[in-house]
């Protein structure tokens, strides 16, 4: 082919201010951690609260990641997402109760095997439920936000009532597996073993999601679809199938989040998912709709802030996350790392 007229653009220098502005969402986490250290004063308490906040943040991220992708890809607001959290918790806890001998044994292998089986069962059930939910409830209301809110809230209520029918109306208390009870001490700070495990699982999941989204063709299609679905279809990709896959994966992750949250709280109720949705939506909104990275940062901020504030001024803990959301939306009205800009 004939060469084009000689136009060879070069890269412009980006100022430090511009770079800082771009990196600021990432910097918010260390800034908050340092502020927490200064405000709390006692290093041991600060470390305990930081691990607790990170663990809480990781679990919220696991629940929020699917929701933000579902919204970004198909512009669907799914208030029923919380139902998968509850169902995941009940299925997972049922498996753990059935495997009581394993969870009661002082064997890390048996304990982790029981947790793994509980997680697999919860994710399988919520994944299948997610598939049915998408086909029956969400598919007929594509493009109609008000109807989406109404039918997905309806779906949430129906599923919560089904939990009452299957597992009964009472809350269920659950003991953590033997080797996950108690805490380890580091630099005078007690850190619950389970919270450390939650941080590890959350990190592994985040890295895995990033690898899938950044290094695979399917991830490329998902990222492109979040930004401009019609163009992805015009290039020959069947976005609907991708969306169904993301919906199933998001539901399964909500189920995983439910099991983890249930073990974290050591009690589960049919309404736990519904209550979690407030935090999940805050995370999805401040992260920027459609952004997994934004949801990750947002979840960690929410987890850390809630723990620090609950220690410093318990009465303010409830409003701290709303205040965080307000502050971030005043700074960046579309969230920290928005992908869905035009909607």
């Amino acid at each position: 082919m004939t060469a084009a007229p000689d136009h060879r653009p070069t890269f412009a220098n980006v100022s430090l201010t511009e770079r800082l502005d771009e990196a600021m969402p990432l910097l918010l986490i260390p800034i908050l951690v340092v502020l927490g250290f200064v405000a709390i004063g006692a290093p041991a308490s600060w470390l305990t609260l930081t691990v607790s906040g990170l663990a809480m943040g990781m679990m919220i991220f696991i629940m929020a990641s699917g929701l933000t992708l579902v919204f970004g890809l198909m512009d669907v607001i799914n208030f029923g997402h919380g139902a998968f959290v509850s169902v995941g918790a009940f299925v997972g806890v049922s498996v753990l109760i059935a495997l009581g001998d394993w969870t009661g044994a002082a064997s890390l292998l048996l304990n982790m095997s029981a947790v793994l089986l509980a997680v697999i069962a919860a994710m399988a059930v919520t994944g299948i439920m997610g598939w049915g939910f998408e086909r029956i409830i969400v598919k007929p209301v594509y493009g109609a936000h008000l109807k989406q809110i109404l039918v997905t809230v309806g779906g949430l209520i129906v599923i919560e009532q089904l939990i009452h029918v299957i597992w009964g109306p009472d809350e269920i208390f659950i003991n953590r597996p033997e080797t996950l009870k108690g805490a380890v001490t580091f630099a005078g700070a007690a850190m619950e073993k389970y919270r450390l495990l939650a941080v590890g699982i959350g990190l592994v999941l985040f890295v895995a999601m990033r690898v899938v989204l950044r290094r695979t063709k399917i991830g490329l299609i998902v990222r492109a679809g979040v930004e401009n679905g019609p163009m992805v279809e015009a290039l020959g990709y069947r976005l609907r199938l991708v969306f169904v896959g993301v919906f199933i994966a998001g539901s399964a992750l909500a189920g995983l989040g439910g099991v983890m949250w249930g073990l974290y709280q050591e009690v589960i109720t049919a309404g736990m998912g519904e209550r979690m949705m407030v935090l999940v939506f805050i995370v999805a909104i401040i992260g920027g709709l459609g952004s997994v990275e934004g949801a990750f940062i947002g979840a960690l901020l929410v987890g850390l802030l809630q723990n620090y504030v609950a220690f410093l001024e318990p009465k303010l803990a409830l409003v701290s996350n709303i205040a965080l959301m307000t502050a971030i939306l005043m700074w960046r009205p579309q969230g920290m790392m928005p992908v869905v800009k035009a909607k």
Binding site: A4, H7, L235
Partner: protein, 240 residues
Amino acid sequence: MSDLILSLKDVHTDIAQYHILQGVDLQVPRGQVTMLLGRNGVGKTTTLKTIMGQWTAKSGEILYDGQDITRKPVFARARAGIGFVPEDMGIFSDLTVEENMALGSLSGKLEPKRKDWLLNAFPALGTFWKSEAGNLSGGQKQMLSIARTMAEDRALYLIDEPTKGLAPAIISTMAQALRELKAQGASVLLVEQNFSVAKALGDSAAVMDDGRVIWTGVMAELSENKGLQERLMGLSMEAH
């Protein structure tokens, strides 16, 4: 094999309460560049989007390579070999130039020869290969949009105003790329307001008004007849 790659018969399209296409009849000969011309708001973009399936035809028939594609979904039309460069370019701003190009190839890999050819035609894309596409200039985004559609062989290209708002140097790059695409045997249906580009590239032309094709013929005939231009489009194309 038919001489026509695409044929529209009495196609009607509604957008909300508006009846935009009101019986479009259009033929695109195989291996030619067909210009779709007309004043603003007469239905040119809607025609392209209806062919691509982004708007659904309410009635009528769209035949592509002899097959009825009127009810086929967008992705199936693309897989059948129709490439679409929309007026808004459809660039994925948060993806790199490389990732945008990778999406243009359904197989997932851009053939090295194809890549060399495209980067020779659009060298700016090579410079910004690893950069986010959102940082490109308007002209570079347009180049990327066209290059992405050319990332693999397609039988028919639907291109909506590729030179709108671009500098002359970039327009000549675009025109050259389209010329070479045609030389490879591809068919192109091109919406274009730039008269010199339309005159240089077009083999045949269709002029639209009020949601219908009101004239079809050879591009040279239209470009040489100012009276005809004024009658069909309200003014001479030289005035554009």
